[in-house]
Amino acid sequence: MTKLIETIDLTKVYGEKETAVTALSSINTTFNQNQFTAIMGPSGSGKSTLLHCLAGLDKVSSGSILIKGVDLASLNDKQLTKMRRDSFGFIFQAFNLIPTLTAEENITLPSSVAGKKPEQDWIEKIINTMDIGDRLTHRPNELSGGQQQRVAAARAMASKPEVIFADEPSGNLDSKSSKELLVFMKSIVSELNQTIVMVTHDPYAASFAERVIMLKDGEIANDLDNPNQEEIVSQVTSLTDI
């Protein structure tokens, strides 16, 4: 498998001197292409911070993040923005969509701001996979929560990014919609050869991933390959117990 993202001694400290809080300390890991990875951990473990750093939304304090060998820290705002636009896709927990645009316009938004025409076949394929073909002309407030997240997922894929970052994508959904979304996400990886890095606190959501990284107090506590739900739950419990 090809190495896509590599972190070297990744450290993130918030605040200064006495008030300094270490959110991430010396994270060394890699993320491979065409893999669905989940990052788990209790509140305050640094999982969201890790995702934000990987996605270039937050700056690291020391160490480095290499995306296909390019150090994120060496990029200026414009280059970083371009990287996010062309190489990354995003799914957030809520407020993923611009309320004034239709579902279709939201999906093609990244290519629109890039001034490029979206690849028609690809978009159609995504829309079919996400099963949102009949909602394209609707605005976000006319869509259910599940539909909104699926539109967000479709948008994340629309520009054929190298990697999709998902931050608690199913956090606001009921269990049925949540399952649907996760199934779709899994199929994105297996059928459309995408790469996903997802942050979640939900063992059920994590069980859809091929790899689960457990964080605790800013350090990697465990790295599981294809775990089932029970394994994850027991790991999470043991982390919280200590």
């Binding site: 923005t81 990354f88 957030f92 309320p99 004034t100 890039a114």
Partner: protein, 881 residues
């Protein structure tokens, strides 16, 4: 022991303001500006008033009594008109022998005569001639802004304290002059220089022997002064053997009233003696009244600025409270009553109004200083003096500022108090509830229709409102339309922006789409922000169309009315009310001149009142357009026949064949028969006319008021020949038709520029409104913008999006304002149709220039919000509370 807050809401209000100082600034910016204009205008006029007080006490410094000649009854009528008539008119003088007589009276310490008249410094600059071999030159009239140009006699009395030499010596012969220091400094003259002075109708050259200062202010009121040796002044200023007034200083132990009685006794009823100090106060008062008019205009513009400001405050308040919905509903959930919320919001607005008014007063002082320096820079001579801020003015400014702010916050405060306690718990969106705009549309349309009905009713004579003049009715109708449109705007925002949708999407892509969608999202806000701009633009385009139309009218009138190739008139009516007759004699001799008519005038008595009697050559009827009403030109040219203007004939019911008895100076009583009633379409020089060549008493007059003439061929050679002749008459001004049009246009343009200057204040205030609205809209959309940045929108693109949104608001406001302004201008001109205004011209280029300026200004107003939006921290924007 825990603290107990006695006034918790007051505390919250105070903390809010302390935490968000920028909010105060944004909300109160418009109030600050409005108050500043009020204060500045007050300071400006008060300072001028006190400066004029100082000036007049300077004029009369050390003088106890002033002796004036008693003017003839009808002279007073002319003095009242400012003496600006086209006719030379002799004021009575005091024979200078009287000075000696007064000097010898008991109790009189000193007495000296003053000679005063108009004199003009001129600079003759050589200019290249085209074909004619004679040396050509151009005459420049030296003046300090709009201040008058005076000549006088140098006071040699040891008691005279008015003029003091800064440099040089007093004038002692008819070749010497003393110049005031202001004129000398402004024009770079110094002692020893030669200077040409035009006094009466012929210029003469003098040596500057001294530079003098008047009562420590350089020159009174910025006027230029040429001070001559006494005898020279008498000769030049038409005062041979006499003086205009006598200043008197009395002995310390003398009683002022006794001395006054003695002097009046000397004059046989021909002398009027006034108390100098009382006169100072009286004259200062006269000037102050004139300045009050200027002050009123400034206050009107301050009012417009405040009116626009009220719109903006209301808008800003509404948005601010919307942002705090959660906070307010939490307070409600905790048990705060609606009334308390209402008071909380109001107390915040009171805080803001006080702070805003305070800053406004400070800024007003700064503005006054700036205006004063600006006027000084443009040599607009007003007397120098300290800036005066009266307590009344400061209080008025503060009261107006505070009450406008509080009144504009009443509605938003009431709305805020209606917030439901549930809002705090609900997952809230910052978008306001979409209330239907249908009711608004219906009501607004009704008001607008009413306005239109009234306006058209008045214009097309099927409606007449009692107790209002035609113009007032038009103004009233326009006001109602304006209010109606203001009510409708929120409901037409969407359809209007809809027009942009496709165009903007094609030009700007997705950013255009987002911007148009955003302005549709909050139609009320977009509309009220645009309304603020609309007010300014309505007034600007109204002024613009009116003046463009007047210009076009002037052009067509000049073309239609003046048929002559050339017109000659006096360049400076103050200095010389006419043109020496020598010029018309020379022009008649010229072979190029084919037809010529002189206009002359003299003062005669008619029914015991003074009357300007005009005289013209027969050619006048071919050179300017006159309209025959009754009688005939042929009868007019006969001896003892008289022509009369249509208006005068109508007013006094004069008809053909009527006999008019006039008292002609040095000729006695003469009777004339009305033979011709006609309409003179340019400003006429008189109302009664005789044929010039029929009467010798017109030959005694030394001046023509106007000359019209035709030439064989209008070309450069002729022009040069005419210029050469004219160069001997610096007081005369030669203009062809283009020149006349240009002159009329220049005057209108100057007026327009002043109006533009004041109206731009209201546009400026409106821009603050755009900045406000956009920064709040950016604040509301923090999330959205953060998301856009996260998925790869450049900062540059975010900025562009805000700029596009701003352009929509400003185009909306500018479009509405311009259309209304053009329509109102049309109504106004239509209403003035009966007064002879028929031309309605819209300058497309000017209209689009102003729309363009509005868009650019709107984009400038968006700079700060755009930068703020693009610098937003993405993580903070997208993370949860």
């Amino acid at each position: 022991m825990y603290g107990f807050t006695k006034r918790p809401l007051f505390l919250i209000a105070w903390k809010n303001l302390k935490t968000y100082p920028v909010r105060i600034l944004l909300t109160t910016s418009s109030i600050i500006l409005g108050v500043a204009v009020i204060i500045a205008s007050s300071i400006f006029s008060e300072s001028n008033k006190s400066a004029f007080d100082n000036l007049f006490s300077g004029i009369y410094e050390g003088i106890d009594l002033v002796v004036n000649p008693v003017q003839e009854e009808f002279a007073g009528d002319f003095a009242g008109s400012g003496g600006q008539g086209p006719v030379s008119f002799d004021l009575k003088k005091i024979p200078d022998a009287k000075i000696k007589e007064i000097q010898e009276l008991p109790g009189v310490k000193g007495a000296w005569g003053e000679v005063l008249g108009f004199a003009q410094y001129i600079k003759v600059v050589p200019r290249q001639c085209h074909t004619y071999d004679k040396q050509c030159s151009e005459t420049i009239f030296i003046s300090n802004g709009f201040a008058p140009t005076f000549g006088g006699a140098w006071d040699t009395s040891p008691y005279a304290k008015q003029w003091e030499l800064v440099e040089g010596k007093p004038p002692v012969n008819n070749k010497e002059v003393v110049m005031d220091v202001t004129t000398a400094e402004n024009n770079g003259y110094s002692v020893g220089d030669r200077v040409t002075v035009l006094a009466g109708s012929t210029p003469a050259s003098f040596t500057i022997v001294g530079i003098a200062e008047f009562a420590n202010v350089g020159s009174p009121g910025g006027a230029t002064f040429a001070l001559f040796e006494f005898k020279t002044a008498q000769r030049l200023l038409d005062s041979e053997g006499g003086v205009d007034l006598i200043n008197i200083v009395i002995e310390n132990n003398a009683d002022i009233e006794t001395v006054r009685g003695l002097i009046e006794g000397l004059g046989d009823g021909n002398l009027e003696v006034i108390n100098a100090q009382e006169a100072a106060a009286e004259q200062a008062d006269g000037i102050k009244q004139g300045l009050n008019f200027f002050n009123t205009i400034l206050n009107v513009f301050a009012g417009i600025a405040l009116f626009v400001g009220a719109f903006i405050i209301q808008n800003t308040f509404r948005i601010l409270l919307l942002q705090r919905t959660k906070e307010l509903s939490l307070l409600r959930a905790l048990g705060t009553s609606k009334n308390q919320i209402y008071r909380l919001v109001l107390s915040e607005s009171i805080f803001m109004s006080v702070i805003g008014s305070g800053i406004g007063i400070g800024l007003g002082i700064g503005l006054a200083v700036a205006v004063k320096e600006g006027l000084k820079y443009f040599e607009f001579g007003l007397p120098d003096g300290p800036l005066v801020l009266t307590t009344e003015a400061a209080i008025t400014g503060a009261i107006v500022g505070i009450s406008v702010t509080i009144l504009s916050s009443l509605l938003p405060a009431r709305k805020a108090s209606q917030v439901s306690p549930m809002e705090a718990i609900r997952e809230s969106t910052l978008t306001p509830k979409r209330k239907s705009l249908i009711k608004r549309l219906i009501f607004g349309s009704a008001v607008t229709t009413l306005g239109f009905t009234m306006l058209f009713g008045v214009l097309y004579d099927f409606l007449d409102l009692p107790s209002l003049s035609g113009l007032q009715q038009v103004g009233f109708g326009a006001g109602v339309i304006f209010i109606g449109i203001s009510i409708i705007t929120p409901s037409i925002t969407k359809p209007f922006v809809f027009l942009f949708d496709k165009i903007y999407e094609i030009i700007f892509g997705i950013l255009g789409k987002l911007a148009t969608e955003n302005s549709k999202r909050t139609p009320r806000r977009t509309a009220s922000t645009a309304s603020a701009l609309m007010i300014g633009l309505t007034l600007i385009s109204l002024a613009n169309v009116i003046t463009t139309s007047f210009k076009a009218q002037a052009e067509s009138v000049v073309g239609e009315v003046v048929k002559a190739d050339y017109q000659v008139s006096a360049a400076q009516v103050f200095v010389s009310p006419g043109i020496p007759t020598g010029l018309s004699d020379e022009l008649i001799e010229l072979e190029e001149v084919t037809k010529l008519s002189r206009s002359r005038a003299t003062i005669v008595g008619y029914k015991d009142r003074p009357l300007i009697l005009g005289a013209v050559d027969e050619a006048i009827f071919d050179l300017i357009k006159t309209e025959s009403i009754s009688g005939s030109k042929e009868d007019f040219v006969k001896l003892n026949s008289m022509g009369v203007l249509k208006q005068k004939a109508e007013r006094d019911s004069i008809d053909i064949g009527d006999e008019i008895t006039l008292t002609i100076p040095e000729e006695g009583v003469m009777i004339f028969t009305i033979a011709y009633i006609f309409d003179w379409t340019t400003p006429p020089p008189a109302e009664f006319f005789l044929l010039l060549e029929n009467y010798t008493f017109f030959s005694n007059e030394s001046l023509d008021t106007e000359i019209y003439f035709n030439v064989k061929e209008k070309n450069q050679a002729t022009q040069d020949k005419l210029d050469a002749i004219l160069s001997d008459y610096p007081g005369a001004k030669l203009r062809d038709q283009d020149g006349l049009v240009e002159e009329a246009n220049n005057q209108i343009q100057q007026l327009l520029n002043v109006i533009y200057g004041f109206l731009s204040i209201s546009v400026f205030v409106a821009l603050f409104g755009i900045t406000n609205t956009l920064s709040l809209s950016v604040y509301e959309r923090t999330r959205e913008i953060g998301l856009m940045r996260a998925i790869g929108t450049y900062r540059k693109q975010v900025r562009r999006m805000i700029f596009i949104e701003s352009s929509i608001i400003s185009i909306f406001g500018a479009f509405l304002g311009t259309s209304l302004g053009i329509f109102f201008a049309w109504s106004l001109i239509k209403a003035l149709e009966e007064d002879g205004f028929s031309n309605f011209t819209v300058s497309i280029s000017q209209t689009f220039t102003w729309i363009g300026i509005s868009i650019i200004a709107g984009v400038i107003a968006a700079i700060l919000p755009a930068i703020k939006a693009s610098r937003q921290n993405i993580l903070e924007a997208i993370s949860y509370e």
